[in-house]
Amino acid sequence: MKIRAKPHFSVSTQTQQKIAFTLLGIASSLVVVPVIVIFAILIQKGWPAINWQFLTTMPRMGMRAGGIFPAIMGTLYLVGGTIVVALPLGVLAAIYLVEYARRNFLTRMIEVAIVNLAGVPSVVYGLFGMGLFVIYLKMGVSIVAGALTLAIMILPVIITSTKEALQSVPRSFREASLALGVSKWQTIRYVVLPNALPGILTGTILGISRAAGETAPILFTVAAFYLPRLPKSIFDQCMALPYHLYVLSTQVPNVKPALQYGTALVLVGMVFLLNLVAILVRSHIRSRKQW
């Protein structure tokens, strides 16, 4: 009986395995398909519009001609400002929550708040930023106001991924350092953080992509409809790629579709490049870490 039962069992598990693999394969291809299609369409329709002039000159004739230089620069400023604010703040908050805070009512409230913050629709961030930064703190419609709004939006992403990265550093590493009389802060600084860096960068990558692509949070806080010059200071407005794309597609009549697709392609390409840089840095760090 036993002898007969065994081969029967193994055949059926093999079939099961095949079915499972096929299903998993289909599911993952379904994820890839839209990405490829989007890219293909963008490249096919947007590539003809892209040339040096398009990337480096001001828009002309009510945005129906000329380049998108100020929008590119505006998005770079915004992403830069957002990271400068959100990264240190998020990392410090995560260090506090993971390494120092006692588990009590307050820290649980903070954690719930972070989770909920991640689920808030981006237009709400936009209105919040307008209320707090633009009006109440009198920053006006400006790069600071926009970057701060975007920073608040991506804080949950950075805090959550940093927390996970810190928690994944083995406890034994901390104890090995502490057992030598090294202080807790130095242990965090020299053992925990270096080993958590790849995870922190992953959060930063996600944050950058979101900050670069969102329209609603910058709508009321920084984005200029049509401003064919570079911002003069961080208290100036600026154009930004996602908002410019929205304007071209819905607000300006008779725009050549190539311009719209070209702008979209530049935006996607820029996010892709920013991500690529972060991914390269991360894999460089990972290759040095051996556990």
Partner: protein, 250 residues
């Protein structure tokens, strides 16, 4: 010999679980004290109390006193000062994810030594003391994690020596090592005797006999017996020690 560590009425419990009950003992300067006992007898808890690593466990409660050179470690010393003077080598070797050199230099650097030449001297001296120098002197820049298990454990000992402690605690340092690596670690301990006080927790009774000057036997959180190694192994005073040594339980 002088008493290096004096422990009085030491009790530790973890939210109701009594890990140590009323332990009284002295550790003499420059001796190797072997600590044996079956699983869960409180040996690790005992060691972690001595360099205050048990502070990290929020559930642990400690009472009684532990004096190092006459100073109470929980009340009269900073935690960093205690851990710098009383360092710990763990059961599994834990090289930090950095080069061999940086592993050994880690402690001194964090304690403020910046001078490259001085660091290089400390690293060489510590690796020599841990019997590892000859095996790694040509590859100090390679990762500490690429060494064999036994080499890693000696690297951890060297890292410990580099902070110039007074007491070194070992928690089953050879439990993952083969006999040859074990012998090398034991050689290192014997060599260190002249300058350091060492406490060796081990599951291996023979190892306690080989390197211990005195041996303490723990059972269910109690210190059952402590005595000269030779005496304890040949004529234990307590019946329970005898039972453990003859393998009747544990």
């Amino acid at each position: 010999m002088v008493d290096k560590i004096v422990i009085e009425n030491l009790c530790i419990d973890y939210g109701g679980v009594h890990a140590l009950k009323n332990v009284n003992l002295c550790v003499k300067e420059h001796e190797i004290l072997g600590v044996i006992g079956p699983a869960n007898s409180g040996k690790t808890s005992f060691l972690r109390a001595l360099n205050r690593l048990n502070d990290l466990d929020i559930s642990s409660r400690l009472s009684g006193s532990i004096r190092l050179n006459g100073k109470e470690i929980n009340r009269e010393m900073d935690v960093e000062e205690v851990r710098k003077k009383v360092t710990m080598v763990f059961a599994l070797p834990i090289p930090l994810p950095m080069s061999i050199f940086d592993n050994v230099a880690y402690g001194p650097r964090r304690h403020g030594i910046r001078d490259r030449k001085q660091l290089a001297e400390i690293v060489e001296k510590s690796l020599k003391e841990a019997f590892l120098w000859d095996e790694v002197k040509d590859r100090l820049a390679s990762s500490g994690m690429k060494l064999s298990g036994g080499q890693q454990q000696r690297l951890c000992i060297a890292r410990t020596l580099a902070v110039e402690p007074e007491v070194i605690l070992y928690d089953e340092p050879c439990s993952g090592l083969d006999p040859i690596s074990t012998a090398k670690v034991e050689d290192a301990m014997r060599e260190l005797k002249s300058r350091y006080t060492q406490i060796l927790v081990t599951n291996n009774v023979k190892q306690a006999a080989r390197v211990g000057d005195r041996v303490a036997f723990f059972l269910m959180g109690e210190l059952v017996e402590i005595g000269e190694a030779h005496q304890l192994f040949t004529s234990p005073k307590d019946q329970r020690t005898n039972d453990y040594l003859t393998g009747r339980f544990g």
